[in-house]
């Protein structure tokens, strides 16, 4: 007898709905490293007792933990922001050869418009390189449906399945109907030399199997309801996937649509058939011409966007421009410059680096904000884990007036290898770890050096000092960055030595430890309007129209950095 399940709707984001769907599909292991816009998938997942989930050290580790769980016989999920897949790419490529055992879903959250990213790569292309099937939901409720489907496809074809969200889906909320968890039986694991040991002979054979699997997947893509036709007006038709489909539907509700929920392998015949039935067919897609190129290879006649639409986020109002073959010509909206929070422990460090006029090899995190004027004390940002490797190249060429900076979470993610490399290759340099004891940029997630897990439990704590020493640092100093005189003296001393030094600048993030001190007091009589206190770029120190400053008591946390930088004693501590 069928039990009636109450249909409970919740307003969920694409990330949350995806995690909910994976939960309902019986996922048992889930692993990720934080990254916008994917972070909330694992944060939501952490609420389920049935799922063993984790923040891994980095995406490669996360991928392998999830992959191996699936090989061993349970449903697993990996999620990351788009660039996270680059870190995991080595494992992704070969996991396509071995296949899996129980279902394994690989979630990528791409970021067209780079709201909070270092690039806007289109990971649909990675699916093609890795030869893995690709599903693309267009909304949160579809993310839930498709992740369940992805587990089925994964098991049916013995392959990891990539599920791609973009920021606009990951961070949109809508009504999502919640269902019950289904507990699938674990699959039996048995060792198989030919399948899981990718030595050349086996890998060669598995490559043949992979190509055959792709043919089977293509057949599936041709008939699957994931790729669906909605016939409307036969004069105008659209082929689209993901949120692009919704934008086209918004602007041309009466047109005909071929909506691709599975965009790789490419359902060529279905598309050919659709194009035959409609007079003019437009491909609407964000970023790369992924569908466009596959249509062209297949000799299918479609209208495509002007290449100027290959950058930035798509918006509904662009669709008519694309349809009429126009170039993208939209004025960029002025937007506020983000700044370090009041009391942020990164600020005193950048203040000193600016004062010392050093070349600063940087990395990614909140501290990248130290790059913008007036602090202007961070000069590179490439990818995570590059603070200490760029330090090495810079030191070789520019000499010793260089330091590297890297965040604590970033150091653990992929900076440790760079430090070992500095030591091994006899480079004397100064690396500063900005240790605010959290992953600040992505919203305060714990990491190994915090000693806390994703579920908030205590665990073994990685001691950064010990790691640095073991990696080969000659000196490891720990300092409170708000002691700016000591900090300045220490940096000068270490730069002057022929040693490999690590300075751990340690003070907790203000969004984690919210304790406040009283805001300092501005003494107008002593102020000479020199503007030095404004150069620390603190949102709580505000310039008045008369040239004096005021301290905003509601946002100030009383770090007193402005007190310390004022040469005239015009800002005094309030204790």
């Amino acid at each position: 007898m069928k039990k009636s399940v109450p249909r409970i709707s919740s307003l969920l984001s694409g990330d949350e709905a995806l995690a909910q769907g994976a939960y309902e599909a019986g996922v048992k292991i889930a692993a990720s490293y934080p990254g916008t816009p994917a972070t909330e998938i694992m944060e939501y997942m952490a609420g389920f007792d049935e799922v063993d989930c984790q923040w891994s050290v980095n995406e490669k580790v996360a991928y392998e933990v999830a992959y191996s769980g699936a090989v061993a016989g349970v449903r697993t999920l990996f999620s990351a922001k788009h660039v996270g897949l680059n870190v995991a790419m080595d494992s992704i490529m070969t996991s396509a050869y071995t296949g899996i055992n129980a279902g394994f879903v690989v979630v990528t959250c791409d970021e067209p418009g780079l709201h909070s990213s270092q690039n806007e790569q289109d990971n649909r292309l990675l699916a093609r390189i890795a030869k893995l099937p690709l599903l693309e939901p267009s909304s949160p409720s579809e993310a839930k449906e498709l992740v369940i489907k992805a587990f089925e496809i994964s098991e049916k074809f013995d392959t990891p399945v990539i599920l791609r969200l973009t920021t606009r889906i990951a961070h949109t909320k809508e009504n999502v109907v919640l269902g019950k968890r289904r507990e699938p039986q674990n699959k039996h694991y048995h060792p198989c030399f030919e399948k899981y040991v990718m030595v050349p002979k086996n890998a060669g054979a598995r490559h043949i199997e992979l190509e055959e699997r792709l043919v089977r997947l293509k057949r599936y893509s041709e008939v699957s309801r994931l790729n669906s036709v909605e016939m409307g007006d036969r004069k105008t038709g659209f082929i689209a996937a993901g949120v692009s489909y919704l934008y086209a539907k918004e602007m041309y509700p009466n047109a005909s649509f071929l909506k691709l929920g599975m965009s790789y392998p490419f359902p060529e015949e279905k598309i050919r058939d659709f194009v035959k039935k409609v007079r003019t067919v437009h491909v609407i897609e964000e970023l790369e011409p992924f569908i466009e190129e596959q249509c062209k290879i297949a000799g299918i006649k479609i209208r495509t966007k002007d290449p100027s639409f290959r950058t930035g986020e798509l918006r509904p109002e662009y669709i008519p421009l694309i349809v009429s073959g126009k170039k993208k010509n939209v004025p960029s909206k002025p937007s506020r410059k983000p700044v370090l929070c009041p009391g942020c422990s990164h600020r005193p460090l950048f203040w000193i680096l600016n004062k010392l006029k050093l070349n600063v090899a940087g990395d990614i995190g909140c501290y990248t904000l130290g790059a913008s004027a007036p602090l202007s004390a961070l000069h590179t940002c490439l990818c995570m884990g590059s603070g200490d490797t760029i330090l090495e190249g810079f030191t070789k060429v520019l000499g010793r007036n260089v330091v590297g900076v890297i965040g604590d979470s970033t150091f653990v993610h992929s900076g440790i290898t760079g430090l070992i490399n500095l030591a091994y290759n006899k480079t004397n340099a100064v690396l500063i770890i900005l240790d605010n004891s959290t992953t600040g940029m992505t919203g305060s997630q714990p990491h190994p050096a915090t000693g806390i897990t994703i579920k908030g439990e205590k665990t073994k704590k990685l001691i950064l000092e010990d790691v640095c020493k073991a990696a080969g640092a000659d000196n490891v100093d720990v300092i409170d960055p708000f002691r700016i005189k000591d900090l300045e003296a220490l940096i000068k001393k270490r730069i002057g030595e022929d040693k490999l030094s690590v300075i751990i600048s340690r003070y907790p993030c203000r969004l984690v430890d919210r304790r406040k001190n009283a805001a300092p007091i501005f003494v107008q009589d002593k102020c000479k309007k020199c503007g030095l206190c404004l150069k620390i770029d603190c949102p709580s120190v505000m310039k008045q129209t008369d040239g004096y400053v005021s301290i905003d008591r509601t946002t100030c946390v009383g770090c007193n950095l402005c007190v310390d930088v004022c040469p005239f004693g015009a800002i005094i501590k309030n204790d």
Binding site: K173, E174, N175
Partner: protein, 160 residues
């Protein structure tokens, strides 16, 4: 033809509670039986950047983003953002900036401005007071719930 949606745009800067405000609105619409979508546009919001949040609800909603010149209600939490965003409104659209301007007199220390503005908005939409209050309860955890309900009603009552 598809049925019209109601489109609302919240704007301000990071840390003002824009996302909570728009969430209340989207939940109230969902509780009233509508298909409801909410999406935000921000770059590093926590660090003081600009934030927009779009809410659209109706029988069926496609695009999560509102269209320029298609917004029915603009709910600003910051004066300069209000000026910048007012061109997003329909000709017949309504900018609720007047309630932002009087909020100073009505709110102690500007606390819960976001909830106040949602209160004002609620008077303009045909969703029941019961669903609004339920939505406020869903979005705020226990801590400041009572204070927020009170401020919500203040905002609601500010609309004559």
């Amino acid at each position: 033809m598809i049925e019209r949606t109601t489109d609302i745009l919240f704007c301000g800067t990071g840390g003002q509670g824009i996302l909570k405000a728009s969430e209340i609105c989207a939940v109230a619409a969902m509780l009233s039986g509508f298909h409801s979508k909410k999406t935000e546009v921000h770059g590093m919001a926590q660090r003081g950047g600009s934030v927009e949040s779009h809410v659209r609800y109706g029988k069926k909603v496609f695009s999560p983003l509102t269209l320029p010149g298609g917004v029915d209600f603009l709910v600003p939490l910051d004066l300069s953002e209000s000026e910048k965003m007012s061109r997003e409104l329909k000709k017949t659209g309504k900018n609720l900036v007047e309630y932002l301007k009087i909020s100073g007199e009505l709110l102690e220390n500007g606390f819960f401005l976001n909830t106040f503005m949602v209160g004002a908005l609620s008077k303009y939409l045909s969703l029941s007071e019961k669903n609004w209050v339920k939505a406020v309860r869903q979005v705020f955890d226990g801590k400041h719930l009572d204070a927020n309900i009170e401020v919500f009603m203040k905002g609601r009552d500010a609309v004559i």
